[in-house]
Structures are given as structure tokens and as C-alpha cells.
Subunit: 286 residues, 2 copies
């Protein structure tokens, strides 16, 4: 891959943005990385770690001359940021985001993209329990899947460049419409987070002291309840309808399972468990 | 610790039973370990790995002369096994189990324990997604918590010996009544398993192909859906009332969370997430 992007601006230098910077540097895919954020101390740390070359707390100044602008703050901030920077984006640049929801993001951002600038939405499927740069690594995206969500408005050339970039840092690409993405991830990612947060609260509401008895099973299961709460509040807001639908399906299923236990129908219960076990095995045995 | 148990019989040589054998051998806590099970090939493998010294497929023969008998099959089998072996247990021996439910087990087993023999129930809190000896290890119980559940019938001398044994192989001991154990573990272990199985089935029922899009979050969250289904069917049956109660609490909580999303009350939703995040952090950040 030739160096399509000389200057890259990363807005939101946390786990995802920081790892993106490190991966690009390691693969020599850009000359200069500009970090943009509100927290100056964090940006200084990112510079010390060699994740970024320079930094700005003013996004509208930071994006000047950037060939690629990555939005990697919580999704709720994207639109306001783009409104602030859009006047300073150079012609021919590409704006991209790594938000965990896509339809509302793409619908909100596309109309704000200036003439001559392209937008391509993406969602790298990687764990985000931590949100800080401390855990950022150049290998963070190696082997993970990155969903790219073009629309009828997406420039084909920009789409190709974004795909090549993610492939170059080791990701496997899937293309989805923003609508399909949000329907799928409501159920495989968004409601699992809601369930994990809720399970912890259910336990604590019964008895604060009970939580200490949890073993490795509960810890694994609720690791995602460590995830940044602002991010997950935003995701619930942006993918509200799909999440409500998926939660209704889940609540209906767990109510059926409870009914089997109430009826002491152990054969039917074991069949449900067997079906789930086989499904989970298809994802690998760890 | 002196060698209180010369001959130990392990009934059910899987992940837990096998690890127990390896840990005892490594700590030189017994002279001879007898493995008992239905599957001869598995017993041969266990002998080859040095987990056991000899084996029997007939439990009533295998327990003859044992100073300690460990029940580590699925809990649903304990009572039938004890009925079969009770005539051959020597005076002074201790019977113990590692079942994940305690009240029904203890109530079922205590009346079957012969005169001069003691029973002590335990539950080592360790992951059990795998059930085979392939993953058994002498370090399996190091650092984990083992709940010991004496009753008013429990012999104090036998209780002390069992506690010393688990401590000698690296476990930390908590004492609980069987009732308290089942109430606590319904919520911190049993319903998390039911939820993990149900989440996988909810996803597959919506669309078989969606599961493949799951990332590391869902994999972590549903790792326990790999657990042996017979074991978890038995646990649901033995701890039925506590599990129904806990499921009711959980369903009520998740319905409340859904209502916040329906009302678009994002502040209240984030407060719930923050409360859960703080609770989960108290368990450690991984």
C-alpha cells in the first residue's frame, strides 16, 4: 500500500484511537499523526509513547491539512465535532469514524461533510472495557473484524482506501449497510452490555456483600460492565429501537426458560442448554 | 499436614476430580488415588497422566478401604452412587462432594451416610466450562475459594480435616450453611449460566448467521455457555426455588432498564451503568 495519507488527525486518543495510531506507525502508513482531545495530559502521554507526533486541544486547528480524520471519541460527540471542524477540512480528505453504532452516525455526519471531502463509516469489533491509551497497542486490530458501512453516497475511491488501510493493519473486512450493522450489533454486542450491567446491579440490589462471592464465571461474564458508561449510554440512545426489540426478544426467551424451570421440565431445559452450547462452540472453545 | 488419607477414591475423574487428584499428589497428601467412573478409556488416560494409581468402573468395589471418598460427578448422580457404595465404606472414612448446589445434596446424602462415616459438603469456586481431564492441573485450585458447608450433623474432626486438605492445595476457605450457599450462588453463578445459554439462543433464533459477527465481548460473556449441559440441568433442578427467585429479580431489573431506554431517560440509564461499573470494578479490572 502506498502512503495515501501523509497527515492523519485522530480525534479522541484513547484505546481505539491510540491503537490505530500505533498500528499505522508500525506499518509506516503515514508520515505524521496529529492527536486531538480535550485532555492535554493524555495527549502529552500519547506523544511520549510515540502514538502521536503533535497534538491540539482545538479540533478545528488540529484537522488543518489532514488527509484522513478519524473520529474515535464516544459516538455522541461526533456530530458536534464535525460541525466545529468542517470549515477547516482540506479538499480530497477522508473523514472516518469507529463508532459502535452506524445508522444515526452516518445519517448525522453525511450531510455535514463538505464538498470534495469523503466520509466512510467503520466499526472495528474489538473489546473496549478499557478506554485509556495505557492499553493501546499496534497489534490491537490484528486479526479482528472491521465492519465498513458504505451508503449510496459513499465515494468508491475513498471506500477502497479505507478498506486497504484496515487490511494493512491486520483486520478482516465485512461490508454491511448501516441499517444491517445496527440490527446485528444490537443483539451480538449492545444488549450483552446492557445485560452485563444489569446483572451486576441485580446482584448488588439483593445484597451488597454477595458480589464478593463471584467466581471466574461471573467475572468473565461481566467483564464488559467495566466499559465506559458514557459510550454505552450513547450507543443505547443511537440504536434505541433495535436495542428495545432485541431486549424484548431476550426477555421473552428468559421468561420461557424460567417457565421450564417452574414446570420442572428438565428434559426441555437441557435441550435448550444443548442448543446454546452447540452455538457457542461454533465460536471456538474459549 | 500429616497424611490423614492414605487411600482416596475419586468418583468422577473429570476436570474437578482430576485436578483434585493431581493437587493431592503434588502436595504428597495421600499414598494412593483410586479413580472411579463409567468410561474406562477416560480412566486409562487418567492413569497414564499419573492422576490416579488404579481404577474401577464399579464404584462399590472402588471405594473399599478408601479413607476419603470424593463425589465429583454431576450432582444429579450423587445420591444413586452413595446408595450403591454405602455398604462398602470403611468406618472412619470421610465422604465429601464438590457439587455446585448444596442444600438438596446435603439433605439427600446425610441420611445415607453409614454409622461411623462422616460427610462434609464443599464447593470449590472454579470455572467448569470444560468437563474433561485434558484441562486438569495440580494448580487448578490454587488461590480459588472453596465453600465448605457444614450442618449440625457434621463431625467437627472430619470438618477440620477437609478444611486442612483444601487449604493445603492452595484454596481459601469460606464456611456457609447449605441454605446460604444456595441463595448466594443462585444469583452469582447459577442464573449467570442460565442467562449465557439464553443469550446465545436468543441470537440464534433471530438469525442463525448473526452469531458469527460476535466479537470478544460476546465470547467472554458467553464462555460459560460451553459448560456441561447435564450439570447445569441438575443444578437448576436442585436449586430450583432460589433460581426462580433470582431470575424474577433479574427480569424485573432488565425490564426497568428497557423502560429507561423506551423513555429515552439517558441520565438515569447512565447512572445505572455507572453503579454497575463501580460494582464490577470492586471485583478487579479483568
Amino acid at each position: 500500500m502506498n502512503m495515501d495519507f501523509k497527515r492523519i488527525a485522530i480525534i479522541g486518543v484513547g484505546l481505539i484511537g491510540g491503537s490505530f495510531g500505533l498500528a499505522l506507525k508500525k506499518s509506516r502508513l503515514c508520515e505524521k499523526i496529529v492527536g486531538i482531545g480535550r485532555n492535554k495530559e493524555n495527549l502529552i502521554k500519547a506523544k511520549e509513547r510515540g502514538i502521536i507526533d503533535e497534538y491540539f486541544t482545538d479540533a478545528s486547528r488540529g484537522v488543518i491539512d489532514a488527509d484522513l480524520i478519524l473520529l474515535s471519541t464516544p459516538v455522541g460527540k461526533f456530530q458536534r465535532i464535525l460541525e466545529r471542524i468542517r470549515g477547516n477540512i482540506k479538499k480530497g480528505a477522508i473523514v472516518t469514524d469507529v463508532g459502535s453504532v452506524k445508522l444515526e452516525v452516518v445519517k448525522g455526519l453525511e450531510p455535514l461533510i463538505p464538498e470534495g471531502v469523503s466520509f466512510v463509516g467503520t466499526h472495528p469489533i474489538a473489546g473496549r472495557e478499557s478506554s485509556g491509551i495505557a492499553d493501546a497497542s499496534a497489534e490491537f486490530f490484528a486479526g479482528i473484524r472491521c465492519i465498513v458501512t458504505p451508503t449510496s453516497n459513499t465515494d468508491k475511491n475513498a471506500l477502497g482506501k479505507i478498506i486497504s488501510l484496515w487490511e494493512a493493519i491486520g483486520s478482516k473486512i465485512s461490508l454491511m449497510t448501516p441499517e444491517e450493522h445496527d440490527r446485528v450489533f444490537a443483539i451480538v454486542s449492545h444488549i450483552p452490555h446492557v445485560i452485563a450491567y444489569t446483572l451486576i446491579n441485580t446482584i448488588m440490589d439483593l445484597d451488597e456483600n454477595i458480589l464478593q462471592h463471584s467466581g471466574p464465571s461471573l467475572k468473565d461474564m461481566t467483564r464488559i460492565a467495566l466499559s465506559p458508561t458514557e459510550l454505552w449510554r450513547d450507543i443505547c440512545s443511537y440504536n434505541r429501537e433495535n436495542i428495545i426489540k432485541s431486549l424484548n426478544h431476550f426477555i421473552s426467551h428468559i421468561t420461557d426458560i424460567k417457565a421450564l424451570i417452574e414446570k420442572s421440565d428438565w428434559d426441555a431445559l437441557e435441550k435448550e442448554f444443548q442448543k446454546a452450547q452447540a452455538g457457542r462452540k461454533s465460536l471456538g472453545c474459549h
